[in-house]
Symmetry: C2
């Protein structure tokens, strides 16, 4: 099966499916567009949490328990920083620090975020391309009962406890999409676009907030498939359901489908959500979506690709016959 697969991803949940895709595809045919709305500068270092989670996951370096950060990590730096009275609310592992120091050095030397990311993923032997959505800064902010908060202040320092009233993606309306993102999405050789099971508010919508990216997804020639990040009334990880509640939205998979409605061909929900009502014109597929093992990731990746190929096969002139890749 030929053609490029493009995935949109935030951090941990999205990276699980991206890893599955990288393993069942020729990984060189996978490009992952990654949220940079969580990026921030901390202790003078340029930190890109979602890019790092993708890099670590696809390189086999991720912490298998927490899903972010590195396996076999040590914490000597944080202990010493605390001893010096430094800022310790954002935990940086010793190995993880190398990524931030090296990225910061390269950015200061004039490399773009996308070039830095590309060189580092190649260095780590990752065949799939990892594309920051933009080289221009986009910053997710949250209006809460504690006022407007920066993303990491809300997410890490305050552990998602403030009540969220509104989100903003500062800079998104003027951020230039990464040229490689636009090339991939407008390619006639595009096989499928997969919106990974990431938090819609914090991970996917910052990407979609760049107008040209949303338009390119809407116009693209390939099927667009989203996998729900919620199962029943639970988010697999993170505050998705809590935020739906605080924002006065319906809590569940249906709300995810509604938010992406203008883009979606297929919506994959968990088996417990088989009865999810979605906007007209969207096909619902139910399947086990909880990815615990590596096999789970691969199985879901195959299912998503097969569904995309079937949808493509229903379109006139598609080169992709129905069937599992």
């Amino acid at each position: 099966m030929m053609g490029e697969v493009v995935a949109l991803s935030g951090g941990v949940g999205g990276a699980k499916l991206a890893l599955g895709l990288a393993r069942v595809l020729d990984a060189a045919q996978l490009a992952v567009i990654v949220n940079t709305g969580d990026d921030f500068n901390h202790l003078g270092l340029a930190i890109s949490p979602d890019l790092d989670t993708l890099v670590y996951t696809l390189a086999g370096l991720a912490d298998p328990v927490q899903g972010w950060g590195r396996r076999d990590e040590t914490w000597t730096f944080m202990t010493a920083l605390e001893q010096l009275g430094g800022d310790t609310w954002f935990r940086l592992g010793d190995a993880d620090l190398a990524m931030h120091v090296e990225r910061t050095r390269r950015l200061a030397a004039g490399e773009t975020l996308s070039v830095v990311t590309d060189r580092l993923r190649q260095r780590l032997g990752i065949a799939a391309r990892i594309l920051p959505m933009s080289n221009d800064p986009v910053r997710t902010r949250l209006k809460t009962d504690a006022g407007w908060l920066d993303f990491q202040d809300y997410f890490v320092r305050r552990r998602c406890t403030p009540q969220v009233r509104q989100l903003a993606y500062l800079g998104a309306d003027t951020a230039r999409p990464l040229p490689e993102v636009m090339t991939s999405l407008s390619s006639g050789d595009l096989r499928a676009v997969i919106i990974c099971p990431s938090n819609p508010f914090l991970s996917i919508e910052p990407i979609l907030a760049i107008p040209a990216i949303r338009a390119a997804l809407s116009d693209c020639s390939a099927p667009v498939i989203a996998v729900s990040p919620v199962i029943g009334d639970q988010a697999v990880k993170g505050p998705t359901i809590k935020m739906m509640h605080e924002l006065g939205l319906k809590c569940g998979a249906a709300e995810v489908a509604r938010r992406y409605a203008d883009l979606l061909d297929i919506f994959v929900v968990d088996e417990v959500d088989a009865a999810t009502a979605v906007p007209a014109g969207i096909e619902v597929i139910s399947a086990p979506t909880l990815m615990t093992s590596l096999e789970d990731r691969e199985r879901l990746a195959r299912l998503v690709l097969a569904a995309a190929d079937r949808a493509a096969g229903r379109r006139a002139g598609s080169p992709y016959p129905a069937g599992v890749s």
Copy 2:
């Protein structure tokens, strides 16, 4: 015994005597003026090797084997940096990194190097004051058979192998001495100035290259005592003898005394150098100067202070009687 003791120090060798002084004095009466000619920016971090060696040594955190860096250090960062293709010729331990990251952050926020150093040493419970010679950058460079080299390029990357022809302390002639340095050196309450057994070319002369500091030492009311960093025809550590040879100088303690001749009242040499010829007017004291144990450091500190106090006692009106403190 009252009055402030001021020490001049580079890294490892100087820090040994500084620790001895801090232990035999009321440490709040000790101020150490530290060479910053080795400072450099590496991986985007502001690194001050000699300041750090003093801080770690006086806080009891120094690696007891190598004398620089921290005890119980881990090296996860360097391993990860190497994996990413980063620059690894200058080894930064995980705990040591906290110092560089925190200093860099504070400098970027507008604190001076002396304020950063003072806050960190207080945080670590160090009673002695640690004073960078200047908040203005001074950079030691070496003209060698491999061309002009930055200090760390010569010292760490090339392991002192190039032949040294000439030294330069860039910025020293216009660097403003730290005001606290000038206050201490001009104080009527100054008890002694001790030039620690550090490399003259790389550690002490960058300090003396700031004209106001050299002048203040020359004019100060207290005895000035240097401890030789060479024993026989060996430097205790580092390239002192090698550099003397390459610079066409006599190799040994006598050359150290000659270099400081206009400043010195007393020159302390090792017992093997008891016959060292020094310029007229300088008293030579021989004693065991190799500091292996903590007791060695304290014993040499007591000997130096006693010699200073005897010299002061010979001056009219001195408040300091002869004898060990």
